[in-house]
Symmetry: C2
Subunit: 435 residues, 2 copies
């Protein structure tokens, strides 16, 4: 998928809100979501343009698409469309790009298929089969390692293996879903016996989520050079984490209840096609070891890094009550990742493990090298030892009930139109009664 | 679900093979599977009786069932039936038990719905949403711990938390599926740099798999006293493991590629109803700590332990060529588990994590206290240091290409009919070319 006419920065749409400076969804973006208008029953597939949604199930949109693609777009999830493969995705993008361009004759007809985003509610973009979470930021791994193992922050395998673990697919939820503070076993420092309590060290993690469009057969690894053909697109992902539960449970098999109570993703899947202009060379240091052969690809070396600007902001209950705006906590980029998305996919399937259409791969917290580029409170507050003071005067070591965390993301590069990822929002609700 | 007429040990069936001594599927069992006859296209739901299968999609079987249950049984997976809940499961069992009893007038009609197991091939019993693997045998945890940490075999959290990690749902496969030896990163002892190679330490693990019939809403834990209402039944589960890949990859987030290339389960789901006679008091030691409140239930203390005899046998390529019978490697029981199935479910949902109909929970390797009760080669050969010598004269530290591992399981108790779980078989195939 080389750059093509859909990436032309001079394109404008007859949907005027798409032409606004800093719009997340200009005509160069065209991300997919599953939506309905408030009060409606059935979810359907839509494409964002400015402040509107093209309802792909609407008869006037259906006529733009090849019959097989139109059929796949009538489902209440992206799986069928994703299973058609990258040529079908690109064709759909091209058709929509052309139909939405300023001056096109379809404008009158397609107008009827537009819905206002402000009246929409979103479903998960796909039926997620398996969810895997990676650990691709060496800055995050080192920062967390320093808290746990000051003498050996980075484990010996880190620069060789794209470390990952399996997450929980059932509790992946779309932006806006409530996040109930988890209750769990915690062993207070020095105590003999653990207690069950609401987590006191609830955190967010700023990640990208990769939506797998095409899978592979069990036993058939995906070579790194083919990996991007399997990527439908990306979303923002907040890997909520209960640090106190994690510390007590994670040996020897890794995080479990500390992570699986909720994972929030943004509703709009920004496609691999739309992200093409924002790929760049690996950001590794010159003295880092060369990856093993199955993780090494000349194309990936030149274009494997994806530069998505990422930020997390907080709006506490008190800030909301006083009409304050959210305050930014983290500001980073996915270009800092040590492992690329292609390497994640090649590694995941290198043993024959089968990816499936609709699988979700998290990148892990995308912390950068500078302190404000840390993608979690654990890092920003040094394990809670140095709480942040917000502009409101409130302090935060970890999240309090009522805190709303909003992830945002966008891509910007000289010579191309800026595109946005929308947002992934979750508000912490008071813990329920222990089960 | 108390004991009832379906458990009567004196019941006999007009399907005569069900009355054979040591039959896995007498009329007191009635497990469910998804099957088709060789050469057919569509999978459907069946119930085992002796050496036959009652095809629940057959018109003469459909008339036995309530309309809603019959509708759910027309699917090519058990999910719809499981979602109807425990009363529907028990009703189905009762109807089938009555219709299959010796002397019943339905015999003539139902005969037409019988298929021979010998001509059947099986699908996965359910669409598996998420797969979680626990670590419930303290003997397994201690044996593995002794290899890794001689000074501290059992970690401090073990007796407090039912340790678990998320596994890979997409690579769960049914008995008979090929298991390709995985290729992966391994760091040979003393080497600076890892290499990519076919695993040299491929192992099996003897486990039970719990099929979740009813889920819970996110944020709503399942109290331990209700847990069994959510269990549809159990299967045999072989958690194939590449120990050399595992050793290099598992820090800090747990096993990943060392486990997710394949997990084999048996096709027949033996229901919670059928297992009722084989539950017994916890097997914990008197000086073990009392579980925390959410893991403590008087009923579970008295009946939480499930006594399924489990065994693993090997048939090497050479044994097969010479016409030898399989040789038993492991012989254990799930009654040795430190944590019960109800505790697994209560813990998994205690933080609000939602289980979904069709989820699979592995128990972890069910090793017992005596050396031959070890449920993996890792334990039987002390990390490969003391290879086994088979009756054929061959030795095994870990599995060789062509080795077939067969898990078997059954329940036996004075005053009740013996019931079997069938088998979970997998044969190791030569590694493919690295991806």
């Amino acid at each position: 998928m080389p750059l093509n006419e859909t990436h032309d920065p001079d394109l404008r749409s007859w949907v005027l809100s798409a032409n606004a400076k800093d719009a997340d969804f200009p005509i160069q973006n065209l991300p997919f979501a599953v939506f309905r208008l408030r009060g409606e029953g059935a979810f359907r597939i839509g494409v964002a343009i400015g402040e509107a949604i093209v309802d792909l199930s609407h008869p006037h949109a259906v006529t733009l698409l090849e019959p097989q693609i139109a059929g796949a777009c009538r489902a209440p999830a992206l799986n069928d469309l994703m299973a058609l493969g990258p040529e079908a995705w690109s064709l759909t993008r091209l058709s929509l790009s052309r139909a939405l361009r300023a001056g096109r004759s379809q404008a009158d007809r397609l107008q009827a298929a537009l819905c206002p985003q402000v009246e929409a509610e979103y479903g998960l973009p796909a039926r997620i089969g398996d969810y895997t979470d990676f650990y691709t930021s060496i800055f995050h791994a080192s920062a967390v390692g320093r808290l746990l193992r000051p003498d050996q922050p980075l484990l010996p395998n880190y620069k060789w293996i794209p470390i990952a673990y399996h997450g929980r697919a059932s509790s992946v939820c779309v932006s806006g879903s409530e996040v109930v503070r988890p209750t769990g076993q915690v062993r207070v420092t020095g105590a003999e016996v653990p207690v069950v309590m609401a987590s006191q060290r609830l955190d967010y993690e700023v990640e990208l989520g990769v939506m797998i469009g095409l899978g592979n057969a069990r036993g058939q690894p995906i070579p790194i050079g083919d990996a991007w053909r399997h990527v439908f697109g990306v979303v923002l992902l907040n890997d909520w984490s209960a640090r106190d539960i994690q510390a007590w449970e994670y040996q020897p098999l890794g995080p479990f209840l500390s992570k699986n109570f909720a994972t929030t993703i943004s509703p709009w899947v920004v496609t691999a096609d739309a992200l093409l202009p924002f790929r760049s060379p690996w950001g590794r240091a010159a003295d880092d070891p060369q990856p093993l052969a199955y993780l090494l690809d000349p194309q990936d070396r030149m274009t494997g890094s994806l530069d998505v600007q990422l930020e997390a902001s907080i709006l506490t209950a008190a800030m909301r009550a006083r009409g304050h705006l959210p305050e930014r906590l983290s500001c980073t980029s996915s270009r800092h990742a040590y492992w690329t998305i292609a390497q994640m996919i090649a590694h995941h399937t290198s043993n024959g493990c089968n990816l499936v259409t609709g699988d979700l791969l998290g990148t892990g917290t995308q912390s950068g090298p500078a302190p404000p580029e840390a993608g979690s409170l654990l890092e920003l507050t040094f394990g809670g030892r140095e709480p942040l003071t917000l502009a409101s005067g409130q302090t935060r070591a970890f999240l309090e009930d009522g805190d709303q965390i909003c992830l945002g993301g966008w891509c910007q590069r000289e010579g191309f139109a800026r595109i946005g990822l929308g947002s992934a929002i979750g508000t912490v609700a008071r813990a329920g009664t222990p089960g």
